[in-house]
Amino acid sequence: MPTLTLIEAVTLALDHEMGRDKEVVILGEDVGRNGGVFRATDGLQDKYGDQRVLDTPLAEAMIAGLSIGMATQGMKPVAEIQFMGFVFPALNQILGAAARMRNRTRGRLHLPMVVRMPYGGGIHAPEHHSESTEAIFAHTPGLRVVVPSNPSRAYGLLLAAIRDPDPVIFLEPKRIYRIVKHEIEDDGEAYPLDTCFVDRQGDDVTFVAWGAMMHETLLAAEMLAKEGVSAEVIDLATVAPYDVETIIESVEKTGRCVIVAEAVRTGGVASDIAAELAERCLLSLIAPVGRVTGYDTIMPYAKLEGRYLPSVDRIADEARKVMAFS
C-alpha cells in the first residue's frame, strides 16, 4: 500500500476517478503541463492527454462558468482555482449560477462539478494566499463544502465529491499538504459526505474542528489528557451541509464544547455550530460553548501570521476555561 501525503492522496483520487469515468475532466490555471502549482495534478496530463486535463486561459469566472456548461452536458469537471484568494471573480458563477441550477430548473439540469482550491494560512505565502473564506460557500444553499483533514480523508472525500451529482467546493488545507502520510489503498472507496468523523473519544469536552486545525486540536487534546481532561475530537469534514447530529450526541455526553476554526470569528461556520448547540442542547450544556478562531481582521502577511492562527495553546486555554466553568 502506498504511503501518501494529503496532496498525493488528492492526485491519487483524481487519477482513480479519471481512469474509472471518462466524463471526468480537469481544468484550471497551470494544471496541465506544470501539474498545478502545488502539483495536485502532477502527471495527469501525460496520462490522460490535454483533452482531459486542460490548461485554461487565466480567468476564474471563465473556469467556473465553463464547468457549469460542461456539467449540464453530463461531463464531470473538476476545476482548480489556484488559491482560494483568487476565487472571487468566479463567485458570480459559483454562488449566482452553480448553486441554483438544479433548483431553477426544478431538477431538469444539475451540476456534477467540483471546484478544488488550496486554502488557509501558515505557509508564509504572499498576500491573498492564506485566507479561509469557507463561510461564503457554506452560506450558499445548493453547494456542498468539503474539507479533508488528512490524506485518507482527502482520498475518500474527493472521490465522493466527484461522484456527487451536485456542485462541491473542495477546500484543501495547504498547510498540511505534506506534513503527515497515510497508507492508502487505491480501492476507489468514497467516504460519505453527510457525516462527521469522531477522531478521538473523550468524556469531558467536545472539540469540533476541520481541515488544518484538526492538527492543532488533536495536539491540544493530548496536552489536556496529561492534565486529566478527556477530550473528544470531531472532524467536521463536510462543512456544509454539516452533520449536526453527531456533534449533539457528543455534547450530550460531555456537556462542553469548543469549536476551532482558522477563519475569522464573525459570521463563520463555528458560529453556526454554536447557534445549533444553543438551540438544541441547552440543557445538556454545563458550560458556555467556546470558540477559538482566527481574529476578525485581515490575515496578516508572513511576519505576523503566526500570531493570527489559532495555536495549540489558545485551543487548550479555551478548553481549560470551559472546564473551569463547571
Partner: protein, 362 residues
C-alpha cells in the same frame, strides 16, 4: 457586403538586438544623462532582484517575483511619469514602482512579509496604489483614478498601470479598457508580455495575433513595442501619457519581452520551459543591448560600466541593511494587525486586539 471596420497594429523598435539603431531615434536617445540614467535604473533592479532571490534561498525573504529580462518595460515606462501622475502597479511592477519613488527596502519589506512595505514614504508615490496581487483588479482601479482626474477636469495628470499578458484574459481587463474608451479616460496600460503566465505560454492565452489589438474593440489606440528596447518603451509610453494628459484618452501598449527567470521563487520553470527558447531569448536581453548602444554613442566606456555595477551592488546592500534593521530592530507589534483595519477600531474587536497583545510572546 461592405467593409465596416478594419484595424492595423503598429510595432515600434529603435534598437535592434545588437543595440544598433534600427530607426530614426527620438531626441532623448542622444541625451547621455537620460540614457545612462535608464541603464543604471535597469541595472539596479537586476541586482536588487538577484539579491532578493538569494535572500529567499536562505530564508530571509518570502516568495519573490523577479523582473529579470523585463527591466526595460517598467524602467522605460516609469521614466515618463511626473509627480502628478498616479501609478497603479501589479506584483511584477518593481521597475515602475522604483521609477516613481518607492524605495528598494520597501519592496523587500513587502515581499519579506511586512505590510509596511506598502506604506510608501516618498511623496512622489503618495497617491500610488499598492501592488495588485489578484490579477487584473488594478485595471479598474486605474480606470477609477483616471475617472476622478477626468471628472474634476484636472489637466496634466494621467494614470499608468501594468498587467501581464496572462492577465489580459480576465474579465476585469476588458471592463477597464471598455470604460477607458467610452469615457475617454486619461490612462495608459502597459502589457508586460513576457511570454509566460507561470507555466502557460502566450499562445495558449489568446488566439489574437497581438495583445495590442485588444485595444481595438474598446475603441482605444493600441500598439506593440519591443519591450527589450528601453528607447521604444519610453518613447511610446511618453507619447501616450502626453496624449492622456491632454484629453486624448487611453492607450494600450504591449511590450514584448521574455521572462528570463522563474515566475517567482516558488516556481521551477525547468518543468515546462524549453531551454532553447530561453537561450534564444537571452540574446535579446535588454541590459546588454543598452550597454552596447551607450558604448557606441560614446556616453560611457567599459570602465564606467563596471563602476556602475559596483555602485548598483553597493546601493542594494545599503537597502538590504535597512530592510534587516527594520525587521530585526523595529518589528511590527502584533496589534498592528488591528490598527489599520478601520479609522477607529470598533468596540467589538478591542478584546481580540487585547488578546493578540497578551499572547504576543507566543
Amino acid at each position: 457586403m461592405q467593409k465596416l471596420a478594419s484595424f492595423e497594429v503598429n510595432y515600434l523598435q529603435y534598437l535592434d538586438e545588437g543595440g544598433k539603431p534600427a530607426n530614426d531615434l527620438p531626441d532623448f536617445a542622444d541625451d547621455h544623462e537620460v540614457m545612462v540614467g535608464l541603464y543604471r535604473s535597469m541595472q539596479l533592479l537586476r541586482h536588487l532582484d538577484a539579491r532578493a532571490v538569494a535572500l529567499q534561498r536562505v530564508g530571509r525573504m518570502r516568495t519573490y517575483p523577479a523582473s529579470e529580462g523585463q527591466e526595460a518595460v517598467g524602467v522605460g515606462a516609469s521614466s515618463c511619469l511626473s509627480d502628478r501622475d498616479v501609478l497603479v502597479p501589479y506584483y511584477r511592477g518593481t521597475a515602475m514602482m522604483l521609477g516613481h519613488g518607492v524605495q528598494p527596502h520597501e519592496i523587500l519589506l513587502y515581499w519579506g512579509g511586512d505590510e509596511r512595505g506598502s506604506d510608501y514614504q516618498n511623496p512622489l508615490a503618495k497617491e500610488d496604489f499598492p501592488i495588485a496581487v489578484p490579477i487584473a483588479t488594478q485595471m479598474l482601479h486605474a480606470a477609477g483614478v483616471a475617472s476622478a482626474i477626468k471628472l474634476r477636469g484636472q489637466k496634466d495628470r494621467a494614470v499608468l498601470t501594468e498587467i501581464g499578458e496572462g492577465g489580459t484574459s480576465e474579465g476585469e481587463f476588458y471592463e477597464a479598457l471598455n470604460v477607458a474608451g467610452v469615457w475617454n479616460l486619461p490612462m495608459v496600460c502597459v502589457i508586460n508580455n513576457n511570454q509566460w503566465a507561470i507555466s502557460v505560454p502566450s499562445e495558449m492565452q489568446t488566439a489574437a495575433q497581438t495583445y495590442a489589438q485588444k485595444a481595438v474593440a474598446a475603441g482605444i489606440e493600441g500598439l506593440q513595442v519591443d519591450g527589450n528596447d528601453v528607447i521604444a518603451v519610453k518613447d511610446a509610453v511618453g507619447k501616450a501619457l502626453d496624449k492622456a494628459r491632454n484629453g486624448g484618452g487611453a492607450t494600450l501598449i504591449e511590450a514584448v519581452t521574455y521572462r528570463l527567470c522563474d515566475h517567482t521563487t516558488a516556481d521551477d520553470a525547468s518543468r515546462y520551459e524549453d531551454a532553447k527558447a530561453r537561450a534564444e531569448a537571452e540574446k535579446k536581453e535588454p541590459l546588454g543591448r543598452l550597454a552596447k548602444y551607450l558604448l557606441n554613442l560614446g556616453a560611457v566606456n567599459e570602465k564606467q560600466l563596471d563602476e556602475f555595477a559596483v555602485a548598483a551592488k553597493a546601493e542594494v546592500e545599503k537597502e538590504v541593511k535597512i530592510y534587516f534593521d527594520i525587521l530585526e530592530n523595529k518589528p511590527q507589534p502584533p496589534s498592528a494587525m488591528f490598527d489599520y483595519l478601520y479609522a477607529e477600531l470598533p468596540e467589538r474587536f478591542r478584546a481580540q486586539r487585547d488578546e493578540v497583545m497578551r499572547r504576543g510572546g507566543e
